[in-house]
């Protein structure tokens, strides 16, 4: 692929002797929507930790962008500024602040203390916040305190904060957890639209949700790639069936 945005190759990491990631290699193109599935402990969250700089791998390479920059050794903030946004498994928004403040903080703008201290509200920024709120369906909730939002709304706000960062790659960890059926549909739509112009990687447990995303699927197991392809392709793979059914997963 010549439009590869992120290339993870031969990455391994172990915690106290347990190999969480075992020579994992994945390529993500731009734009692309990709789902990563796998049973508990397959290394999905650790994979995200490595890309975003939270965890340093023992070996392997993580290469980013046209200029082939290595993300290893960069700080979390630098990686985020390079264009990688991350949504956590539990919705983590700033609950004491309003929806508008949450989005304003995430908006792509200079991140230095001095620039932030002297920051003025501009109509352009306000318009961007309005547009993102519209996209995630929280226009009416902009002045509300984020802590008052429902679980689903918090998930959307966090996705909105990701969009506000204008990243080239979105890493989304279990966006549908704890959502109702209608909320899931809306979440799928938001992610699909986002993936039209950028790379979106969704880590998910829920097969139904993945089916609705209708995209290429990577199955992780014990820290490495077990199968890759369309959902129907990977679910007909006997090892995948064994890994899932063998653990009591339907």
């Amino acid at each position: 692929m010549n439009n590869t945005l992120l290339e993870v190759s031969g990455v391994s990491v172990s915690f106290d002797g347990f190999k969480a990631i075992n020579s994992l290699s994945i390529q993500i193109a731009e734009p692309e929507l990709r789902a990563i599935i796998g049973p508990n402990g397959a290394g999905k969250t650790t994979f995200m930790d490595i890309i975003t700089g939270k965890t340093k791998p023992d070996e392997g390479k993580v290469i980013w962008g046209e200029r082939n920059i290595s993300l290893l050794g960069m700080s979390e903030a630098d990686i985020a500024n390079a264009g990688i946004g991350r949504k956590f498994q539990k919705p983590t928004v700033f609950e004491a602040q309003t929806v508008r403040q949450n989005l304003a903080m995430a908006l792509k703008n200079p991140r230095g203390p001095l620039a932030v201290l002297l920051h003025r509200k501009t109509p352009a920024n306000a318009a961007r916040i309005e547009a993102i709120a519209e996209e995630i369906g929280l226009s009416a909730s902009l002045p509300r305190i984020a802590g008052e939002l429902s679980h689903g709304e918090k998930q959307w706000l966090e996705i909105g904060m990701l969009l506000a960062q204008e990243p080239r790659l979105l890493l989304v960890d279990e966006p549908a957890a704890g959502m109702t059926v209608e909320e899931r549909e809306k979440t799928t739509d938001i992610l699909k639209r986002a993936a039209q112009t950028r790379a979106v990687v969704v880590v998910e447990h829920d097969m139904e949700f993945v089916r609705r995303l209708n995209c290429k699927v990577t199955v992780l197991h014990e820290g490495s790639v077990l199968a890759e392809g369309s959902l129907d392709h990977v679910t007909s793979n006997p090892t995948v069936i064994e890994v899932y059914l063998g653990r009591g997963h339907a």
Partner: protein
Amino acid sequence: MHKTFISQNPSVLWFIGLLGLFTLAVVVGSEATGTGLISTSMVKTLGKTLCLCLIAIAMDVVWGYCGILSLGHFAFFGIGGYAIGMWLMYARTEIIVLGSLEGQVIKPTPQEISDAIGNQIFGVVGSSEFPWLWAFADSLFLQLLMVVLVPGLLALVFGWLAFRSRVTGVYLSILTQAMTLALSLWLFQNDSGLRGNNGLSGLQNIPGYEDTSQAVISLVFFLGSALALACGYILFAWVVSGKMGSVVQGIRDNEARVRFLGYRVEGYKLFIFTLTAVISGIAGALYYPQAGIINPAELAPIASIYLAVWVAIGGRGRLYGAVIGAAFVSLLSSWFTGGGAPAINLGFYTILWTDWWLVLLGVSFVCVTLFFPKGIGGLFDYLVRKPS
């Protein structure tokens, strides 16, 4: 922009208004300019209280807004006090020494003058040499620069080392506590160059104003403290409002999330830590001329813990809460420990408040933390409903 700042922070206007009224009342009541209803020592107590309020809002910004529980901010306060104290002591001793040498037939050499001043200041620790620390003590301007530079640089270096290593929570608190303890122990040494446990004294006498009464001097310092508090309040209200406030409170609530948004958390923490340290230094420089004396015990760890207690009782995360806490608790403390509170005779035991005040303070701290986590300032939430 200013209009929106005030309209978004109506508490600033309220605070400045109330502080102005209070200042006016003290001016009217003081012995220097008014009716004399308020004694000079009371003016000094009130002026000192304003300085404590200033360091309390600094503490509130670093702890209540940014989530860094610093238990060492009184070190910066003390450094500010020492910095101004050195000039006050040097300049005043110089005037006295020059006065006593005036009548001599042979003009004293500069070395003799210097030795005489050194002897006066350091005789108490058995020395007459000027330590290197006093190199700038003869210049008011340079010592005033030290008031902001030394706390600022110390906070910058300390904070850079601590935040870069991602020391957070209780470990950071212990580190800051160790910093103030180390500083205090060093100052206790006779060869520290700052007169050991004697500290610096006579600071209420301002060189060049020997003929001005303490009533006037104390009122001037009171007004200076009120002005500093007002400016500090506006400065901090500005810093914690707007986008900076968003980021800083975000760091308090979820540091990792702020990092993944692309903000370098260490830089923000360092900025807040250093800024509050500088303001603490200024507060100390205004406090100790009113107290008249500074000694190493002022930098003892317990002082910084009291500071955290004031802010907790007053209400974290709101600037006026810190002011209320500092003023209320410190004035109450001087009332109880100064013998103002009547002893309670239970028949079998007499409660002497000088002994029992600390117990009362401790119990109220526990109660506030458990039952009123928003502190006294939280009561205002019942009065004012925030427009959403």
